[in-house]
Subunit: 433 residues, 2 copies
């Protein structure tokens, strides 16, 4: 499974050096290593270490669920100035694992510190003393199973042994594979941009294909840059650009306990200091960051469980963005819309139903709906030249665009989702066995 | 398809004369007739007339969708004291059909009046002059297709010709079949109760199996009683009892443009006058009405598209009923919970996820979850004697009960839904062809 992305990953970036896909290489200041900790019966890597030898500035956004995993509690409790390591495991969400789950992280952080400090002494002229609070965790997988502390602790030495100071595309690919759960494809994206005259890299990896919904769901996404930006600037940029990217996707309306999106900046690229996100010098970086986030978010949807079609829902000319978002997600989360699209049925009546149930007050006489560029409803009436066969043939495409015009203002929102197929049910009726 | 209802249709009524199922017979003052208007290529009845020769008091509740069908607009525009006829068609929702859809109803109401008045002159000693405003419509089916006015108008004479003044179970069954769309079973329920010493009948039919969500969805439900109750009393009783019955079910989270639940009272049973819904004499009637509504609502869920299991979600001990309802529907509408149940997987982690995403603030350390009577989570921890094999074997039952205790108050809510199966996708990917 997994959709061909070439149709909808056209970057908005004007940067000529932007690459569509994906030979991520070296980012100065970051090392990555992956191993199998036997969480999946030794069939694959499932434990990935990101190591910042000189530390990294960072910012994170987390799930809005009222039930959060132990690793997110841990991350929220640490308030270091710099992060030295991010450790991610798949297979076990460390959620609803109680005190044991949290204590396991304490112990793992401790041994990881100890081993990293040994490495610092061995490798560095001025070794740093890394503290447990400078380590954060990503966990993803099943909720409520005992956290496999011993298996993970046992693999820390091997993880550290494997650290190389230069990264290439194979190392990135292994990392992207190592954090997957029900994903069918590793997901990476990159952009190269400039701050002033300095070339800057922004690389990212993500995972997630079920439980995807605004506020990120089972999504883990990690962005790495060699820019030199403060925690405060990173936080503002991330919050601003998450709204139209990871918070604009939905697969099944479910929200996970473990969602996290983080950005790390190693500060190795030397550029003029940025103290304000409205600084003109950061504009190119922000566009590139948005591209990386959107590219990754779209990859999550395209690999949504059982997806056979990628769906873009543009809702335009609303009174406010919130109305546009409500309508867009009401359509994107409607099982009846999603099954009709899976069946290539131009059943636009279900789009009307979903607009109605969104609760947004609207003047039906002004409503227009297009599938792609084909008018279906215009000014609240079936389009005079409506041709069902034309729309039917449009529905066969892998990439369906639903355009809704409310004609009631100037605000808009775009949501991304995929269709709902039998494959989704196969995957989710049988996740754990 | 269609689940065996015997397990969960145990009535709360203490009335010994209550019947589990379903030989609906005569209700004085009501006549029913059904024909095929060729809306489904003459394969079945699709047009059903309910005729109250002396009129009936009535009350209705309608969809909360912001897009409503033309027949609901019509019904809302009429404010007669009594209703003389309800005409229901399947196959076409008369929604998004614009002025044509509304005008069609005007014309149909006109001819139906004319023919009913001719019948009154023929049959009655004191014929009434029925007016178009005393007629209401139920429509259900596909949205956005031209309303088949001519086909329906052409069948009015035959409908009226077929009217018999005594009803039996075959006539009720034909009516229940005639209003079906994707339903696999006709749905009827009845109770017999008393007001004072007078025996009162409450009969009901319903349809609906997709687009089911709070506020009724593609549900049409019609309740008929020979009690003599005012429009005001009927309205209050219906609104009060819909909250825990038709507004407590969900199949797929989608909401229709056409939902309506109506109650009609012919007033033919002679009992002491009821002027207040708190009158003791109406208590037995109210219990019976709630039973009929709940019985019908459960039948809708049990016949939910593709349902293989009936799911009851009890959320208890919340701060307020709204919290309980939010949590119950968050679980009931979660595709991941519903697919796990379809797969007979005791994946209670997904129930925890759904509780978390409901947005209700709760103390996890007080949370308890039982599947049936089997404890899974107790005081926020996996139950000490948790046995996955015991829960696995429970999951094989047709009738799954999820009990969530928040231990934060005294309010509760029960929601009803069904599992999400491949069959749902087959039905909905291919609805129109």
């Amino acid at each position: 499974m997994g959709l061909n992305l070439s149709n909808f990953l056209v970057s908005k970036s004007k940067n000529k050096r932007m690459k569509e896909f994906q030979d991520l290489d070296h980012i100065d200041g970051l090392s990555i290593s992956s191993v199998s900790a036997n969480l999946y019966k030794n069939t694959r890597d499932d434990l990935v270490l990101f190591y910042f030898r000189d530390g990294a500035n960072y910012a994170s956004v987390y799930t809005q669920s009222k039930v959060i995993s132990e690793n997110i509690k841990w991350n929220l409790n640490q308030k270091p100035k710099k992060i030295h390591s991010l450790l991610v495991n798949a297979r076990n969400a460390n959620c609803f694992t109680g005190k044991q789950g949290y204590k396991s992280l304490e112990k793992i952080a401790e041994i990881l510190c100890q081993k990293l400090n040994e490495k610092q002494i061995e490798d560095e002229e001025n070794p740093k003393k890394i503290k447990p609070k400078e380590i954060i965790f990503g966990c993803t997988g099943t909720i409520g199973e005992t956290f496999p502390e011993d298996k993970i602790r046992g693999k820390i030495p091997e993880l550290i042994e494997k650290i190389k100071y230069t990264q290439n595309k194979y190392i990135w690919m292994k990392a992207a594979l190592g954090i997957m759960t029900t994903d069918t494809q590793p997901k990476m994206a990159m952009e190269i941009c400039q701050i002033g005259n300095t070339e800057i890299k922004i690389f990212g990896i993500t995972k997630g294909s079920g439980m995807i919904q605004p506020n990120m769901a089972t999504t883990l996404a990690y962005i790495f840059t060699d820019a030199d930006l403060s925690n405060d600037i990173l936080k503002k940029l991330l919050k601003k650009n998450i709204a139209t990217t990871f918070n604009a996707i939905t697969c099944d309306g479910d929200t996970s306990t473990n969602d996290m999106v983080c950005i790390f900046s190693t500060g190795k690229a030397k550029h003029s200091k940025i103290t304000n996100i409205n600084d003109d010098k950061i504009k190119d970086f922000e566009i590139a960051l948005n591209n990386v986030l959107l590219n990754l978010a779209k990859r999550v949807v395209a690999d949504g469980e059982g997806a056979s079609k990628f769906i873009t829902i543009n809702v335009e000319n609303c009174k406010n963005e919130n109305d546009a978002k409500k309508i867009a997600f009401s359509i994107a989360n409607s099982p009846l819309v999603k099954t009709a699209i899976a069946g290539e049925d131009p059943n636009w009546g279900r789009v009307v139903m979903a607009i109605g149930k969104s609760g947004v007050i609207l003047n039906l006489d002004k409503l227009s709906i297009r599938f792609g560029n084909i008018y279906i409803v215009q000014n609240g009436k079936l389009f005079s030249n409506y041709s069902e066969s034309e729309v039917s043939s449009y529905m066969k495409s892998d990439n369906i665009e639903i355009n809704v015009n409310i004609s009631n203002g100037s605000k808009k929102f775009t949501a991304y989702t995929m269709d709902l197929t039998k494959k989704y049910l196969e995957i989710n009726s049988d996740y754990r066995s």
